[in-house]
Structure formats: structure tokens, C-alpha cells
């Protein structure tokens, strides 16, 4: 049986807020790049700590690991399983800059010209250390595809804060 060869690998940048809903963008990437092996890079923005201690002990992997819930990991695993043919890898990257110049440098490292971003503001960062990279991607990446993200659950208030304890 003749099997159509997949196009060479493409790296797709996708902003994430570590929610299952945000993974819909991965599916839109598959829809937009059929017959292409995709290297999905999920990007989250993180404000670097402003103390010397914080910076010396800052670990990108650790920060990402803390955000990954079991449900999110399951959903990601399922997507990879369902689209094994299209997805080569799904990785995470932190953008720790503050402006477009920093993002352009970041993009050079990423070496990608394609991105899928949500059409409306659909990503909600877990706390003020994190920020949405959608606008940076929209302004700096060459080929940006905007896709609708259907929010199944409303964003939660800050976890483990005293306010959330009293605000029932």
C-alpha cells in the first residue's frame, strides 16, 4: 500500500497556560498542517525573580514541572497518542523576557516561523509570575494561525490564597 510521505518536520509555537483547554491549539495545529510531522513547542511566559537568591536558584524545568497537573499530563499524553503520526514531540519552553526584542532573540533560538494562537483571550495564567505570550507571538512570528479555543471551565481564582479560602 502506498503511504504518502510526511513533509519534513515543522516546529510550531503554541502559547500555553497549562490548562487542558489550551491543548485544543495543538489539535488546530494538526488540522492546519496535515501530512506534516510537528515539533510542538508550548510556550509560557515567566517573570524572572528579582532577588539574587531567586535568580541563582531559578530552574526552568522545575517551574514548568510545578505547573503540570495530572489531568494536563493525561490530556497531553492522549493527544500525542491520537496523533502519533503528526506529532514528533511536545516540549515546553519558558520565555522570561519582558519585551519584543527579547522575544525576537527567543524566537531565533526556537528557529520557528509558525505558530498557533487563540483568537480571543483564552489563556489565563495561574498567578502574576506567569504571563500570556500570545501577543508576543502574534507580533513577532511570521506565520500565525488564530484558532478558536472553547473554554470548558472558567479560570479558577488564585490557588491556595487566603482570599480564596474565604471567598466561597
Amino acid at each position: 500500500m502506498f503511504v504518502k510521505k510526511l513533509e519534513k518536520m515543522r516546529r510550531i509555537l503554541i502559547p500555553t497556560d497549562f490548562t487542558i483547554d489550551s491543548l485544543q491549539l495543538v489539535e488546530y495545529a494538526i488540522l492546519n498542517f496535515p501530512d506534516t510531522k510537528l515539533d510542538i513547542v508550548l510556550i509560557a511566559g515567566y517573570r524572572l525573580p528579582d532577588t539574587r537568591w531567586g535568580i541563582t536558584h531559578f530552574s526552568e524545568r522545575e517551574q514548568i514541572r510545578e505547573q503540570l497537573s495530572d489531568k494536563f499530563k493525561d490530556a497531553k499524553r492522549r493527544i500525542v497518542l491520537e496523533h502519533k503520526k503528526n506529532i514528533e514531540t511536545v516540549s515546553f519552553e519558558l520565555f522570561t523576557g519582558v519585551n519584543s526584542f527579547a522575544f525576537q532573540n527567543f524566537l531565533e533560538q526556537m528557529n520557528s516561523v509558525d505558530a498557533v494562537v487563540p483568537k480571543k483571550k483564552a489563556l489565563h495564567c495561574p498567578n502574576n509570575k506567569w504571563f500570556d505570550t500570545t501577543e508576543f507571538i502574534k507580533n513577532n512570528v511570521k506565520n500565525v494561525i488564530e484558532a478558536p479555543v472553547e473554554l470548558t471551565e472558567k479560570p479558577t481564582e488564585k490557588k491556595f490564597s487566603l482570599i480564596s479560602l474565604f471567598n466561597l
Partner: protein, 464 residues
């Protein structure tokens, strides 16, 4: 009794008991400490008294008295008595104060020291050995300062207790109100939902608490209610509308045929048209019947074990006949080794209709471009992905695709009635499954179906 009052009362009772316990402990330990401190002072003074009187022959008695009066403060109602005794036979040599119990003296003989409290008086007794013989020195006094301190502490604790209770009452009432406010909100929101506003849903935040679960349960119930209501409301309208078209065509054709005498070819052509319209009518009525059936419970349907891969092959065979130019590619590469992982319990005829409709739509709306179907199994579920490269569904219309007779604005020219996907949605829901559609205009549509497999059912049975 209102739940709010009940919660506040329980809160107050529990806190009062806790506070009472704590305050009683504080009072008890303070009292014990004050008494032991006073006994210590008494014993020190008893020793001094003994030394002053019994060793007066060795040094100047006046000096002792002077020291005692000037440098050591006399205790309130202080009284000292010295009895000569025979320590060996444990017998007094003079008459002792009978108002004190006998065991007090016995304790002095055995331990050389004893303490006693009688009414407001504290007594300390000690056995003193001197070159003149053995003596029992008994010193008594009242602890006016200690009593005063303890009274003061008791009053402070009682006042603190009542102030705390008032604060706890206010805080408890406020917090009970806060805690119950989501329930009041749910009640308000549920009350505002009427038959004509069934599309309203309760606000749910992403959480795991019981109230979020309650709101989600309400929303699920409203989903089911809305589906039933919508069907009831729209079914007759839409069905009559859809049925009228072929009927009008048939009536038109018969009118033309009866209008005047026609040739055999003309009658043949008219009958052919009538046959086509009647076939359409038949298809429509069958479809409507199936749609109506799925709104009842699953009783009456034969539930059996279905291998999804076999069913998909079967559907593909049928579609190959109906749409010969279809390009459905079944991908069974990731099939699990265990049969149960891709087997589910359900109605074969209904699932065939559901999956057949989705696959037919994928072919129809992609103009027979490639349609990939992939089946994988994961953690108790069968995951079915159907991807086409068709016209896609407009973003703002995605939310309406499960409504019967709804047709997306970009496919109105393509033949169809708009009950394929709603029917599939209901059938999948009936099988405790989930269906999700991701679509983008001119890029394609991705339909994701998640159905519980036999392994999950077996695990759930084990749990029960």
C-alpha cells in the same frame, strides 16, 4: 431552623466547650502554682521561726526577730506554734491543736514535712531536730494576695469568655452566610431558569469542591432538559418543514400529470420524480424516527459487546457502496493487544448510525478528500479520531452543530437535513461517551469521540 442559624449555633457550642476547657485549665494551673508558691513561703517562714525560737539560746533572739520583722514580710494572719515531740516514738509531748486532722501530724512524723489547707488557712508543718530535743513547728497563714490574684484571673477569664462568644457569634454568623452564599446563589439562578430560558447555565468555577459539583450536576441536568425541550419545541416545526418539501414536489408532479393527457415518456419521467421524492421522504421519516427513538431511554435496544474496529470496517464497506469515491483511511496501527480495550457495550445498530453519519459527513463536506480515522485505547477509553480536510465549520456556528436541523452557513448548498451529527451526539451520550469537534474553515474538521471500553466497565463493576 435555618441552616445558617444551625451552623452558627454548632460553631458557638463547640467553641464555647473548647474555650471553657482551656480557661478551666488556665485557672486550675494558676491556682496550683499560687498555692505551691505560698506553701514554699510558709515552709521557709516555719524554718526561720524554728531557728528563731529553738536556737535562741545559742544566738541572740532579738537579732532574729529584728531580721524577721524588718526584712521578711509577715504573712497575713500568720500564726506559728511549736510542739515538743518524741520523733522516735512519734508521740507529742504536749497537747496539740485538735482542730487539725491527725493525719497531718502523722505525715510530719513520717516525711518531716506536711501541707494542709483548711478553709482559708494554709498550714505547713515541719519536724525540727535540735540539741534540746525534737519539735514540730506548725505555721499557718491566709494567702490574701493569692486569693485576690485568682479572683482577678477568674473574672478576666469569665469576661474574656463572654466577649469571645460574642465575637464568635458575629464571625460565625458572617462566615455561615458566606459559606452558604453559593447555595443561595444557586437557588436564585435555578429559580430564574424557566422553560423559555433553558439555555441559561449556572456559573461554575474550576474547582473540586462540593458546590462546584452541585452546579455542574445542575448544568448537566439542564443540558438534558434543554435537549428534550428543544426537540419538543423544534421537532414538529422542523419536521413539518422538511416533510413538506418532498410532499410539495410530489403534489406538484401529480398535478402536472393530471393537468392533461401526457405521453408515456412524460408519465415515466413524472413517476421517476415522484419515486425520487418519495425515497427522500422515506429517508427523512426513517431518520426522524431514529432521532426520536434516541431520546427515550436505552430500553428496547439490544446491548451487546461491540468491537469498534470491526464496526468501522463494516461502516467503511457500506460507505464504499454508497459513496464509491470516498477516501476513508482507517488507521489501526495503534490497536491494543487486548480485545477488551477496543470492545464496548452498546447498541450496534445505533452506534453504526452514529459513526456512519460522522464518516458520511466527513466525506460529504470534504468533497471526498482524504478522511483519516484512527482508533486508540487509553486508560479505560476508546479514542476515535476522524479527521477530514473539508470545508470546516464557521467558528461561531460550532456551538449549534448538535441542534437538530441546524446546517452550517457554508454547507447549505450541499444536500442534507441536519440531523446526522445531532443524532450521533445523542447516541454517543447514550453510551456514556463524549464527542468534541475541532474545526477551521477551509482547513478541515477533527471529530474526537471518547467511549468507555469493556475494561473500564469491568473495573467499575469491581469497585462496586
Amino acid at each position: 431552623m435555618q441552616l445558617r442559624t444551625k451552623i452558627t449555633s454548632i460553631f458557638i457550642v463547640l467553641t464555647s466547650l473548647f474555650l471553657t476547657g482551656i480557661f478551666v485549665l488556665i485557672y486550675y494551673f494558676s491556682k496550683t502554682y499560687t498555692e505551691s508558691e505560698f506553701y514554699l513561703r510558709l515552709s521557709q517562714r516555719a524554718t526561720i521561726a524554728a531557728q528563731a525560737y529553738l536556737e535562741g539560746d545559742e544566738i541572740n533572739l532579738d537579732i532574729y526577730d529584728d531580721i524577721r520583722i524588718r526584712h521578711l514580710q509577715t504573712l497575713p494572719n500568720e500564726k506559728e506554734v511549736i510542739y515538743p515531740v518524741d520523733a522516735e516514738s512519734k508521740k507529742p509531748l504536749v497537747k496539740m491543736d485538735k482542730s487539725l486532722p491527725e493525719r497531718f501530724y502523722q505525715e510530719i512524723f513520717s516525711d518531716e514535712y506536711a501541707e494542709l489547707k483548711k478553709d482559708d488557712y494554709y498550714y505547713t508543718g515541719l519536724l525540727y531536730h535540735d540539741n534540746e530535743g525534737d519539735f514540730i513547728v506548725v505555721l499557718s497563714a491566709t494567702d490574701l494576695y493569692g486569693f485576690g490574684k485568682l479572683d482577678n484571673l477568674r473574672n478576666i477569664l469569665i469576661i474574656t469568655f463572654f466577649i469571645s462568644i460574642i465575637f464568635i457569634f458575629i464571625l460565625g454568623r458572617y462566615y455561615a452566610k458566606q459559606a452558604l452564599s453559593p447555595i443561595s446563589k444557586i437557588i436564585r439562578e435555578v429559580n430564574s431558569i424557566r422553560a423559555e430560558s433553558l439555555s441559561l447555565r449556572l456559573d461554575t468555577v474550576n474547582g473540586k469542591d462540593e458546590l462546584t459539583q452541585l452546579a455542574k450536576t445542575f448544568n448537566n441536568m439542564l443540558d438534558r432538559l434543554q435537549i428534550s425541550f428543544d426537540l419538543q419545541n423544534n421537532f414538529i416545526n422542523n419536521a413539518s418543514h422538511e416533510l413538506r418539501n418532498p410532499l410539495t414536489a410530489i403534489l406538484g408532479q401529480t398535478e402536472i400529470a393530471l393537468n392533461k393527457a401526457r405521453s408515456e415518456e412524460e408519465y415515466h419521467s413524472i413517476l421517476k420524480n415522484i419515486d425520487r421524492e418519495a425515497a427522500r421522504l422515506d429517508f427523512l421519516v426513517n431518520g426522524l424516527l431514529k432521532l426520536a427513538q434516541t431520546d427515550f431511554d436505552s430500553k428496547g435496544f439490544l446491548i451487546e459487546a461491540i468491537r469498534l474496529d470491526e464496526m468501522l470496517l463494516n461502516i467503511k464497506q457500506n460507505l464504499d457502496v454508497a459513496i464509491p469515491s470516498n477516501r476513508i483511511e482507517l488507521n489501526f496501527e495503534a490497536l491494543p493487544e487486548h480485545e477488551n480495550a477496543i470492545t464496548l457495550m452498546g447498541s450496534e445498530s445505533l452506534l453504526k448510525v452514529a459513526l456512519g453519519n460522522i464518516l458520511e459527513n466527513a466525506c460529504k463536506f470534504s468533497n471526498n478528500k482524504k478522511v483519516s480515522v484512527k482508533i486508540v485505547s487509553d486508560a479505560g477509553y476508546i479514542l476515535l479520531t476522524i479527521k477530514d480536510e473539508g470545508v470546516g465549520i464557521p467558528e461561531d456556528e460550532l456551538k449549534n452543530i448538535y441542534e437538530p436541523f441546524f446546517r452550517a452557513s457554508n454547507v447549505r448548498k450541499i444536500e442534507g437535513f441536519g440531523f446526522g451529527l445531532p443524532l450521533a451526539y445523542r447516541i454517543i451520550k447514550m453510551h456514556s461517551g463524549e464527542i468534541r469537534v475541532v474545526s477551521q474553515i477551509n482547513k478541515g474538521t477533527l471529530v474526537k469521540i471518547k467511549l468507555p471500553n469493556k475494561e473500564l466497565e469491568y473495573l467499575e463493576e469491581l469497585k462496586l
